[in-house]
C-alpha cells in the first residue's frame, strides 16, 4: 500500500508506536531500575557551580529576558529550549523566585574554593532540570538498543542498553551533576545511524542540532563530509563521484535545515556568539586530557608563560585538533576502500574524532566522556577492548568528579531544603577536603585521576598493538585467572 499524503503517512507511522513499545519489553526491569535510581537522587543533589547557569537562564526565560538575558548561559541555546517547557510547567505550581536561594553561609567557602556558587537550587527545580536529561538517557539507550538489534542480535542489544543505562557515570552526569552532554551525544548517534541508513538530510540535521547543543560535533562535520564524498568509491584511491557529491549536498542541506531551529536566536540577539565563544576562548587547562598536569603548576591551569607562541596556544591546539580530525577522516576514507565496512568506518571514525577532541581540548570534564560512550558502545560490539575503556573511563570519570569538589559539595540541596544534613557540617567537610595535605590531598587525587583519565584517553587513539593499557588489563586478568 502506498500512502500519498504526508499526514497519512505520519498517521500510519505513528500507529507503529505500540509495536515499538512492545519490542522494549525485555528491557522493562532495567528501565524501571535505571529510572528509579535517577529520580530518587535527582532532586537532592546538584553541582553548585554547574547548575547556576541553567537556573539563571531558566528564570530569565520565564521572565522574558531570554536564554542569554544575564549572560550566565554560555552554551549554544538548544538545551535551554528543551528545558523551557519543564520549568514553565514548574512555574505553574511554584513561584520562580523560589527556584533557588542565596546561602550566605557558603560565601566564605566559595571564596576559598572558587568552585561553588552560593545559590542552591530547590529540589523541584533540580527535578525539572534533570527530567529532560533522564529522558534523554533513556532515549539514547533505546536508540542504541534498536540499532544494535538491527545490525547484530538481541543479546548484544540488551548488553549495550544495560552498559549505557545503568552506567554509573551516565547516571551521575544526568541525575547528580545535571549536565546536558547526553543531548549532543544523542544527536551525534542519530547522525551516525541516519548516515548509515543513507538518510543524509536527517544525518546533516542531527549533526547541526548537536552543534546547537554543544559545539564539539562541529568537528564531526569533517568526517561525515569526507565519508559522504568518498563512501564506496570502489577504487583504491578515493575520487569524487556524482553520487558522492549528491550525498554531501544532502548532508549540507540537512545541516542548513537545522539552522532554522535556532533562527529566532540569530534574529533577536547579536550577543549570543560572544557568550558562546567567550567560553571557548578561555585559557584554563586541565582535566582528563593531555593537559592534566597544568593545574598543578603555579599558574593553576591558566595559560602559563612557558608556552609563548606567535599564534597563541589556544589557536595552536585548535589547529592541531583540526589536523588530526582531517587525518582521522582521511584514514577512514582509505580504509573504506577495502578493509572495513561502512558501519565500522562510521563508528571508529566518530570515536577517534571525538577522542581527539577530548584529548586535546583545553579542559576535559567527566561529562565530556558522555560524548564518547555511544561510539565506544557501538565499537565494543566488534572489539572487546572498547568495552574495557568504558569501564576505565567510567571509574576515572567518577573519581575525578568526586575528587574535584568532594562528594559532600553535591549534597547542598538536601542540606538546605531538608533537615537531614546541617549546612554547616557540609561547609566544614568541604573545607576540610580542600585544605587537606599529603598523599591523599585534593590536589594529588585530582591530578592522579586526571592523569589516568588522560592516559586512557590517549590509548583510544592508538592501534590495538600499541594499546599498553589494554595489554596491562589482559595481563592482570590472566594473573587473576579470569577472562580478559
Amino acid at each position: 500500500m502506498r500512502l500519498r499524503s504526508c499526514p497519512l503517512k505520519a498517521a500510519f507511522v505513528l500507529s507503529e508506536i505500540p509495536a515499538v513499545l512492545r519490542s522494549f519489553r525485555p528491557l522493562l526491569l532495567v528501565i524501571v531500575v535505571g529510572l528509579l535510581v535517577r529520580f530518587l537522587i535527582a532532586p537532592w543533589t546538584s553541582c553548585p557551580y554547574d547548575v547556576y547557569p541553567f537556573y539563571r537562564s531558566s528564570v530569565d526565560m520565564l521572565a522574558g529576558a531570554g536564554v542569554y538575558g544575564h549572560a550566565s548561559f554560555s552554551y549554544p541555546p538548544l538545551f535551554a529550549v528543551v528545558l523551557y517547557p519543564f520549568v514553565l510547567i514548574l512555574s505553574l505550581f511554584m513561584d520562580p523566585a523560589q527556584f533557588g536561594s542565596l546561602q550566605y553561609s557558603m560565601v566564605d567557602l566559595a571564596h576559598m574554593t572558587g568552585m561553588l556558587v552560593p545559590v542552591i537550587t530547590h529540589p523541584a527545580f533540580n527535578l525539572a532540570l534533570k527530567t529532560p536529561l533522564i529522558l534523554a538517557d533513556l532515549v539514547m539507550g533505546l536508540v542504541l538498543y534498536r540499532f544494535v538489534l538491527g545490525v547484530k542480535d538481541e543479546k548484544w542489544a540488551r548488553r549495550i542498553f544495560v552498559l549505557w543505562f545503568l552506567n554509573p557515570l551516565v547516571i551521575w552526569i544526568s541525575s547528580v551533576a545535571g549536565q546536558m552532554d547526553v543531548f549532543p551525544a544523542l544527536m551525534t548517534l542519530i547522525t551516525l545511524i541516519a548516515f548509515y541508513r543513507k538518510h543524509y538530510i536527517v544525518a546533516g540535521m542531527a549533526l547541526g542540532l548537536g552543534v546547537f547543543f554543544k559545539l564539539y560535533p562541529i568537528y564531526l562535520i569533517i568526517l561525515y563530509l569526507a565519508l559522504a564524498l568518498w563512501l564506496e568509491s570502489g577504487s583504491k584511491f578515493p575520487r569524487l563521484t556524482n553520487t558522492g557529491l549528491k550525498r554531501s549536498s544532502l548532508l549540507v542541506l540537512g545541516g542548513l535545515v537545522s539552522v532554522v531551529v535556532v533562527l529566532p536566536f540569530f534574529l533577536s540577539s547579536d550577543l549570543m556568539f560572544d557568550f558562546i565563544f567567550r567560553r571557548a576562548g578561555y585559557t584554563s587547562y586541565g582535566g582528563l586530557n593531555l593537559w592534566f598536569f597544568l593545574p598543578a603548576l603555579p599558574s593553576e591551569g591558566l595559560l602559563p608563560d612557558v608556552f609563548p607562541s606567535i599564534i597563541g596556544f589556544p589557536t595552536f591546539i585548535f589547529l592541531s585538533t583540526l589536523i588530526l580530525v582531517f587525518a582521522v577522516s582521511g584514514i577512514m576514507v582509505r580504509r573504506l576502500s577495502g578493509e572495513i565496512d561502512a558501519l565500522k568506518a562510521l563508528s571508529v571514525g566518530s570515536l577517534l574524532t571525538v577522542s581527539v577532541i577530548i584529548f586535546l581540548q583545553p579542559v576535559t570534564n567527566p561529562q565530556h566522556l558522555i560524548w564518547l560512550l555511544p561510539f565506544l558502545l557501538l565499537c565494543s560490539v566488534e572489539e572487546k577492548r572498547w568495552e574495557r575503556k568504558i569501564y576505565l573511563l567510567t571509574v576515572l570519570g567518577l573519581l575525578y568528579f568526586i575528587w574535584l569538589q568532594s562528594a559532600q559539595a553535591l549534597l547542598y540541596p538536601a542540606a538546605v531544603y531538608t533537615d537531614l544534613i546541617p549546612i554547616a557540617d557540609l561547609n566544614s567537610a568541604v573545607q576540610t577536603y580542600y585544605t587537606s595535605a599529603g598523599l591523599l590531598s585534593r590536589q594529588t587525587l585530582v591530578i592522579v585521576s586526571a592523569m589516568l583519565g588522560g592516559i586512557v584517553g590517549l590509548t583510544l587513539l592508538l592501534p590495538r598493538r600499541l594499546d599498553f593499557v589494554d595489554k596491562l588489563w589482559e595481563r592482570a586478568a590472566r594473573l587473576l585467572g579470569g577472562d580478559a
Binding site: 521572565a63 549572560a71 541555546p77 529550549v81 566564605d108 571564596h111 574554593t113 536508540v143 534498536r146 595559560l303
Partner: protein, 343 residues
C-alpha cells in the same frame, strides 16, 4: 518514512516553536513611571509608579535624588592581554559581557566597549567619558597622574580592587609612597563571615547593590577623610570597612569598588559588579548632588502601584529610577527631569 524519523521531525518542530516563544513570546514586565516636579522655595518631586502582576513574587525599589549634570557618555572597559594575566583578562571579558546585557535589560542606549592600552591612553587624553578599570594597569606615576587629571576634568572612573586604581598611593615599609595628590586609601582583607556585621548604606539599599561579599574592604575612616560617601555595604570588623565608595574629584567622580573581581558569582564576581555599575550609571549616581529618597514595596505576585514623594532644598536635575530589585525580571524605568524645564 520510519517512526524514528517522524519523532525526530516532531522534536525539531518543538525546538523551533519553543525557540520562537522564548526569544519573542514571553511577556516582560514593564514599570510605568511618571514624574511631577513643583518648584518654589524647595523642589517637590512626586513619582507615580506601577507594575503589573507576574508569576514571580517581586519587590519594587523607587528612588529619587538630585544630580548636578546628565550625559549619556559611552562606557569603556580596559582590557589588554599584554598587561593582564589570563585570570584578569577572563574576568574583565566577563565584566564586559555582563555589563552589556545589564545595560540592555535596563534599556539604556549607552554604548559599552573594551579598549586596549593604546585606546586607554587616547581616552585619558581626551574628553570625559566613563572608564572602568577592573584589573591591574600600568604601575607608573605618570600614568596615574594622567588618569587623575582626566577625572578632575570631569571623567567618571570606576575602579575594581586596589590594584586597578592608578592614583592610589602605595604603602612601603609602613609609609605611604607616591605623589601627595594620590589617594591614601587603605584596603583591608575582608572575610564575609556569613554577612555578620554587614549594613547597607542608603545607596546600597536604594539601588539594591549586589556586590555584597568583596574579598577586601576600604577603610571608611579614609573614605570620610577624603569627603567620600560609602555607596556599598559597611562591615563592622576591627575597623569599619566598605565595599564601595564614591569620591567627587574636581569635576569628575571616582567610584571605587573595594574587592577585585573574584569568585563566586552572585556575591563577588563580575556579574554583580556589572549589575551594580549598570544601575549606578543608568540613574546617574555618579553625578549625585543631594540626598537619596527611596522606598521599596513587596507584593508577592500581585501588581504594585504607589507614589514616592521627595523634597529637595535645591535641584536642577532630578533622577528618578524604579526597578524590580530581585533582578529576575529586570524591569527598569528611569526618568531624568530638569527642574523648571521639560523632562
Amino acid at each position: 518514512m520510519k517512526l524514528s524519523y517522524v519523532l525526530f521531525a516532531l522534536f525539531a518542530i518543538f525546538l523551533v516553536l519553543a525557540s520562537s516563544v522564548i526569544q519573542g513570546g514571553v511577556h516582560r514586565l514593564r514599570i510605568d513611571l511618571e514624574v511631577e516636579i513643583e518648584e518654589g522655595d524647595e523642589v517637590w518631586v512626586n513619582a507615580s509608579y506601577s507594575i503589573g502582576s507576574s508569576s514571580f513574587s517581586k519587590s519594587l525599589n523607587v528612588l529619587c535624588f538630585p544630580i548636578s549634570q546628565w550625559h549619556s557618555w559611552p562606557i569603556h572597559i580596559f582590557e589588554d592581554a599584554r598587561v593582564l594575566d589570563p585570570y584578569q583578562s577572563r574576568s574583565v571579558h566577563g565584566l564586559y559581557d555582563h555589563l552589556r546585557t545589564e545595560m540592555d535589560l535596563i534599556g539604556s542606549n549607552v554604548s559599552v566597549s573594551m579598549v586596549n592600552l593604546d585606546g586607554l591612553m587616547e581616552i585619558i587624553d581626551g574628553e570625559p567619558s566613563i572608564l572602568i578599570l577592573a584589573s591591574r594597569t600600568l604601575n607608573e606615576t605618570g600614568y596615574g597622574a594622567s588618569v587623575l587629571r582626566w577625572v578632575e576634568r570631569g571623567g567618571v572612573l570606576f575602579s575594581v580592587g586596589n590594584e586597578s586604581l592608578p592614583f592610589l598611593a602605595k604603602v612601603s615599609g609602613g609609609e605611604w609612597v607616591g605623589p601627595d595628590e594620590f589617594l591614601r586609601l587603605r584596603y583591608h582583607p575582608l572575610a564575609f563571615s556569613g554577612g555578620e556585621g554587614m549594613q547597607p548604606s542608603t545607596a546600597a539599599s536604594a539601588l539594591s547593590l549586589e556586590n555584597v561579599a568583596p574579598i577586601a574592604g576600604i577603610d571608611v575612616e579614609d573614605v570620610e577623610a577624603y569627603g567620600g560617601t560609602v555607596i556599598g555595604y559597611h562591615y563592622q570588623r576591627e575597623r569599619d570597612l566598605a565595599s564601595a565608595a564614591l569620591f567627587r574629584i574636581g569635576n569628575g567622580t571616582l567610584i571605587a569598588f573595594a574587592g577585585p573581581i573574584s569568585a563566586p558569582f552572585v556575591t563577588t564576581a563580575e556579574d554583580v559588579i556589572a549589575a551594580d555599575i549598570a544601575r549606578v550609571v543608568a540613574c546617574g549616581l555618579q553625578w549625585i548632588s543631594g540626598p537619596i529618597f527611596w522606598q521599596t514595596e513587596s507584593a508577592g505576585q500581585n501588581a504594585i502601584a504607589g507614589v514616592l514623594s521627595a523634597t529637595f532644598e535645591s535641584a536642577e536635575i532630578v533622577s528618578v529610577f524604579a526597578f524590580t530589585n530581585d533582578d529576575f525580571q529586570a524591569a527598569h524605568s528611569i526618568r531624568i527631569a530638569t527642574v523648571g524645564g521639560s523632562p
